[in-house]
Structure formats: C-alpha cells, structure tokens
Symmetry: C3
Subunit: 349 residues, 3 copies
C-alpha cells in the first residue's frame, strides 16, 4: 500500500541522498515517490532500517535483518555497516531522521485553507489578523486578539480576548485559548487542547474552598507542538511558561506556574503539578508525574510512570515512584522479584 | 423515582421473560414500564439481582438478599437458585444482561435528529452524505468526506477531509476526526474525542526535535464505542487500527501504530504507547498502560493501574508495574505488607 | 510586572486590612492597585508571605525571609510573628486567603458578555432562558433546556435536551452537557469538559459486549468548580452526583454512579471508577484513583498517585497502591530503600 497523499516531486536515489545528507549505493533509474516503513513500502518508496537506541535504551535495530529481507521497498535508508543485502540504499548517519526529512518532502502537511475569515466564523471587532490568516468555520476570535501572518485556525477554535498567536502557528479543531494567552511563532496545537484555564488554587476559609483568582496567563515559545486533549493552566500571578521547541503529547496536564525550558519533551498522560520547573531538553516518559514545587535540571530523563517528588540534578536518569536513579530502580525491581520467588519456594517446601 | 425517559411499550411479566429469554414466576397482571436498580425501582419497574463475578473477580451477589428485601421493584430478574423472597420474578441465566436488554427496550437511546443539514452547519462541496444523515448545528464536514446512511453528527462535530463514517454511526458533540480517518458501521464516539491527531514522533537532529510526519491514519472497525475525551493518534506510515466491537472508556490515549483486535476493552485513563498490539477480547483495567512495541495476546486481562512492559501470552491474567502474573503480584503485595509489619514490630521492641 | 487586568478601585493599607480582616502596620499613603507574588509584585501591589503547611504537609514558609528581603511589593500580607523586616504590612491569620480575597477585589473574573443570544448561536424552541443569560457564538442549546438567571455560555458550548443550569453558572468554551444533566447555581465548568456521557457498562453476551443503556444522569450541586477536559459519566439508573462546593481539577474522570459529598477535592488526573462514594471534604491528590464500589469516608486525605482499593474510614490519611495508612506507606518506602542499599552493598563486598 502506498501513502496516497504524497505531493512532493519524485526523487532519484542521488536526489534522496542529497536531501538527507547521505551517500547513494545503487538505485540508478529509481523514481522514489514516497516513504513508508519496511513492512508496507512498495517499489517506488524509500524505507529506513532502524538503528541506534530509543529513549528507553532499546536497540532499534533488533530484527532489522528480517525486515530488510522481506521488504518490497525500492530504496533503503541505512547506517554504515548495516547489511542491506545488496539492495539499493542511501547510507546516512541517522536513517530515521532521513526518513522524516524525506517524508516532509512528500507529505502535504495539515490542510491549508484559503486565507480569510470563513462566513461561519465570528471575529469580534478589535481583533487584528495578519496577512494570509485563515479563520475556519465555527471559530470565535475575541476582541483584542492578535493573529500573526499565516496563522491557521482550522475549525471550531476559540481564541480569547487579547490572545497573541505568532506567525505561522496552526491550531487544530476545538482548541480553546483563554484570554491573554500568548503562543509563539510556528507552533502547532492539536485538537481540543485547552490553554490558559484557571489553575487549581483554593484555600479553605472555614466554610468552603475559597477560590484563588488566577491572574497569570500562559506563554508558549516558538516552534512548540502541543498534542490533543492537553490542558495547560494559567499562572496564579506570573505566567505558566514553556520555552521554545517543546513537544507535548496527548492528554498532558500542566499545572499553574510551571516553567519549562527549551526542547522539553512530555509524553502522553504526563501530569505536572503546580510550580514544577524543568530545564532545557529534559524528557518525561509516558504517564510520569511531578509533585508541586520541584525543580528538575537540564537533560534529565524520567522513566515512564515515574513520580518525581523532589529536585533532580542536571543530566540525571531516574525512574520509580518516588523517582530515584534508574539503576537503583532496576536493581530494586530485580531484587524484589527474587525475594517474592524465594518466599514462594520456601512455602512450597 | 422512575426513569422518566422510558418510551417502549409496557410489558407483562411473560413478555419480559420472552424478551430476555427467561422464565416468569408470578407477576400476573403486572405492567412493567421501565428498569432500574434494586434501590430505586418502583412497582412498575423491573430490577435485577446481581450474580456472578465482575472483571475483578468480585462477587456481585454480595448483599443481594438485603437489596431484595428492601426493593419496591414490581419484578425481579434473578438467576436460578437466588432467593427472591417469593416476589414476582423472571429467572434468567444472566440477570444483568437481561436488565440491559430490557433497558434497551424502554430506553430511547441518544437523541435522534431530523435528517438533513442544519442551517448552522457547514458541509463543504464534495462531501457525500448517505440517506437519512443528520448533520447538526455548528458541525463542519470537509471536502471529500463520506458519511454512510443514517449517520448522526450531533453538534459541533468536525469531520476532516476524506474521512469515511460507516452507516448508522453516531458522533456526539465536539468530536474531531482528522483527515482520512475511517470509522466503521454502527459506531458511537462520545463528546470531545479526537481521532487521527498526529502521532508523537520526533528525532533530535542536533538542534531541535525534528518532526516525523505522520502519514498513516486511523481505522476503527464496526460497532465500536469510544468514550469521551479519548485521543487516538494516526499511524506514522500504516494506520492505527481498532478491530470491531471494541469498547474504549473516557480519556484513553492510544498512540500511533497501535493495532487492536476485535472486542478489546480499554477502561478509563488507559494509555497505550506507540505500536502496542493487542489480541481479540483482551481487557485493560482502569489506568493501565503499555510500553511501546509490546504484543499482548488474546483474552489477556490486565489489572487496573498496571504497566505492561513486555509481551504477554494469550489468556494471561497480569497485574503490577511492571506487570506479571496476577497471583505473583498479589503474593508480592501480601509479603510486602508482612515485611513492613515485622520491621515495625522489631523497632517497637 | 504588574497584572494588567486589575479593575477594582485602589485601596489604602487600612482598606486592605478591613477587606481581609487584618491589622495594618505602616503603609500610610499607599495606594494598592493589585496583588501579586513576592517575586513579581511592584510598589503598588500587595504580596503575601506564605505560612502554614500545604495539603502535603510541606512548610509553606520555607524561604519566606529571602522573599521578603528581595521583594519590591508595596504591602505585605503576613501572619503574626513573621519577620517582615519593617516593611508596611497587614497582619492576618491566613495570608494566602487574604491575598485571594484581595485578588477577587482587583481581578475582573472571566469575561462578562452582554446578555442575549449571539446571532451565531442556536437556541432551539422550547429552551427557557432566565434573565440576563448570555449565550455566546457557536453555542447550541437544545429543546427543553432551562438556564437560570445570569448563566453564561461562553462560546461553542453544547447544552443537551432538558438540561438545567442554575443561576449564575458559567460554562467555558467547548463544554458539552448531555441530555438531562443538572448543574447547580454558581458553578464554573472549564473548557472542553464533558458532563453526562454514557457510563462504561457492557456485558458479554457470548458474542459481543452488549451495551447497558445508561439511563441515569449527572447532578452537580451549587458552587462547584469543574476543571478543563474533565469527564463525568451519567449513572446507569440513578444519577451520578456531586454535592455542593466540590472542586475538580483538569482531566479528572468520574465513572457512573459515583456519589460525592460536599466540598470534595479531586486533583488533576484523578480517576474514580464506577460507584465510588466519597464523604464530605475528602481530598484526592493528583493522579490518585479508586476501584469501583468503594466507600471513602468524610475528611479523608488520599496521597497523590495512590490507588484506593477498599473502603476508607472517616478522617484517614492514606497513600500507596493499594492505599493504606500514610505512615505505613512512608515507613515502607524508607525500609525498601534501605533493603536495596543493603543488598547493593552486600554484592559489592
């Protein structure tokens, strides 16, 4: 099955090599029209042979040989030294990255709509739209909002009063921005995410939970991608902040007053309690969480389903609940299973 | 309190018995107009007496006798051998199933709207609507979408370019389908769920997280029910797939390239990392999660809040984080509590 | 940086003291125009000096002295006995509560829209709107719905058939109420939350998961605040219920037939399985969960990421998975870390 949406011009093996910064081996006369995985690629498609390790340290190359033998791909993207069984290939240091670059050449990206305001959209007086902005059907843009050049609001997007959205950002259907939220340039926000809802702040006054007004807002840096169904709360006083180039997966919850550096990665279902600080380039695995008011350094890796309850220094690799050094956690798990086994054997005797 | 929405014709005890495949004992002259639970049912309602065990193995019949004594229900649905204190009843092998069948008789189901396109909806040229389709207010149907006969888009639903929705499917308010998504026949998707958003794929290129275009789509089989606030990501190359008859609870996250068989059950807050494969009829308890690239067999049961980190064979019953055999997990928990108690007692001495 | 949205009249130190029920020390001639945190407050703003302990028992006053030294705030809100280095201050028993009260004076609250039905909204015949109701653009209000005086539907809100919303309640964009849902007076529901979707009830009938119709609804008491992206399922027969004054954080999932008392607190990502009962004033920490059919007493505190698998008595403080007494859990964690360390040291020898 080929990927039907391909739109970029077909490429020769040499052109593929040039595009991805690699070196062609064979493949003269090939016309590559798309990219796919080894199992699904056809004779006019490129496919990459996995190599290296993923975030969890798993060897991505496991079983690559079998995939290479069985594939019908016309062109392989492979690292030096990987046996490609004599097939046409492009040698490149990061084959998966090369496949992504190639996919960006062929892939049309999300739908591009004609600039202008759809007749079924509502743009209040006093909103400012840059050139080439597209406001789709059923959208609402409130007074005082400012949308930079080329911004796309797909459909059913609500942009609150005085929000600012940087040039080239793309908001998918159902996204809600509360008043005053600031989104950088070149960001993508996926469907039904909510940015800038009130932080969860109450104080028991003796008879009820008295609401602490949430006066801050949310600021998201340039070139961030926010998944679907994400909630990012506004700060109590100062804004909740994400640096540039952060990537946030679906259904993540970011509490009020969190401050994320640049290039932070939050996988699906991550929950950050209020006032969590995260340094540049740190990664939260799926379902991981932080307690409030903790500071996590730069380049930290936090395993899936871990719970960070105290500060973590730069570069640490942690796991567990509460999270500690990953090696301690793995040792602990192994020890525990041994103990349970010993106990069981003792009873059987 | 009776359930006010009942619409089906009243039934005699004999008619109830026929409808549910049971045997009436007493109840001559009764006119049953609805179904309710033991605690709330009135004299014109049927109520079932729980029996058997739930997914967690708990005895549902616990305390049934007290419920039978106190109920004002006109007719009981009960298994053979259950003491119904001489009240009118219908004997049936699966009382809860019988109650569900009876409820389907009386319950009007979700609102049925007049066929046609609401004046406040936007259906782009080039979308194809089958007969009897209802497109409600504030909906958007993009070019190239195809809606089968009798499809209902309740309100505020966004259907992307080239999506296909099978006959009789019902989409509740705020559902978003990204371009190219395919939904089977007779499916229900609850409010604000997002199907087909981009999978979470990035590769660090030395200066930023380079986005891996997500070229696949999502395919959902016939007669699936998807809860509210669910996110199902599109595949990187091949589609993310759900078989037929799957039921997915609220706020579940299904990563890109997952492949689910038929009749899979995912309870609330489940998170499936990318490329998880699940065999027919397997059940994930609430909050359970999978690591990426694991294969779970058929008929597997995974306890609530478990984390599946490796492949699971057909028919296994597992729990824990990481998940292992349920009996091992229960033994481990008991052992652990004993150890903590021993340690505490030792210190006290 | 001052909080630009301030709207309340400026206040003298004496007026601040009167408003928060405190005692002014110094500050003659001050004109306070807003409230902020110590780090961001300017000379015309008040800021509070944290004191006491948060829900997790952490000392909020840690580091307060440094904050007082560095702040540019014109007026401090501080408890008796806290050293404010001679700065103008208002002494008050609960400084954070005082700051919240002051913020409510200065903060405009969520946008207030002109009463009436926006031309881009759809209100079906047979819906009843009280005086001063505002139905914003892209909203849908179905037949038979009843909105009390002063209700605000911000934008893109869907209110199902026969819903009732009490006076003064505010629904943010994208909220969906299924048919028959009842919301009390003075409630706030944040964006994209779903109230009243079908509970997750199926019975295997030998060939498929037979759907149990969900005939109940949801009833939410007065003055509740529901976060963004929350899902609350309707009951199977009787309604799912929340008492008055409950506060529910983002992305919480409440299963069918749950019954919550008054002033219950559910932090982010909490998941309640069906038929969970919770007494007045109990608190679930972030990510905590309950198994179905458990009863949790009044005033119970459940630690973050805990899993409640059995009944909990009034006033208990629990943590862990499964949850037990917090002190046992802390003792267990400490013991476990010691054991792992001992084992590691043994191997090294």
């Amino acid at each position: 099955m080929s990927n039907a949406d391909s739109v970029g011009a077909p490429l020769s093996a040499e052109e593929v090599a040039a595009l991805v910064g690699g070196r062609a081996e064979g493949g003269a006369g090939l016309q590559i029209r798309g990219v796919n995985d080894l199992a699904h690629a056809g004779p006019h498609e490129a496919a990459f042979v996995a190599a290296g390790r993923d975030l969890q340290g798993r060897d991505l190359g496991r079983g690559a040989a079998g995939g290479v033998r069985a594939t019908r791909a016309g062109l392989l993207l492979a690292a030096d030294g990987v046996d490609t069984l004599g097939r046409a290939c492009v040698r490149v240091a990061q084959p998966a990255l090369a496949a992504a670059r190639l996919a960006q050449h062929f892939h049309p990206g999300p739908p591009r709509y004609a600039p202008g305001v759809h007749p079924a959209a509502v743009v209040e007086p006093g909103a400012a739209l840059g050139s080439g902005v597209s406001v789709g059907p059923q959208c609402v843009v409130r007074a005082g909002a400012r949308l930079g050049d080329g911004v796309v609001l797909s459909a059913g997007v609500c942009v609150g009063e005085r929000c600012e959205i940087g040039a080239g950002s793309y908001l998918h259907p159902g996204v809600v921005l509360y008043p005053g939220v600031r989104i950088g340039r070149g960001c993508t926000i996926h469907a039904n995410s909510v940015i800038g809802s009130d932080g969860f702040g109450y104080i028991w006054d003796g008879s009820r939970h008295y609401k602490v007004p949430q006066l801050g807002t949310v600021e998201i840096g340039d070139e961030c991608e926010i998944g679907a169904g994400v909630c990012i709360d506004r700060g109590t006083f100062a804004p909740t902040r994400l640096g540039r180039g952060c990537v946030v997966d679906n259904q993540v919850q970011i509490g009020h007053n969190c401050e994320l550096g640049d290039f932070v990665v939050l996988c699906g279902h991550v929950g950050l309690a209020g006032s969590t600080r995260i340094g540049d380039g740190s990664v939260f695995g799926a379902g991981a969480a932080s307690a409030g008011h903790v500071t996590i350094g730069k380049g930290v890796r936090i395993g899936a389903w871990s719970a960070v309850a105290e500060d973590i220094p730069d570069g640490a690799v942690v796991a567990g609940a509460p999270a500690w050094d990953l090696r301690e956690e793995l040792r602990a798990r192994a020890l525990w299973r041994q103990m349970v086994k010993r106990e069981r054997d003792k009873r059987r005797r």
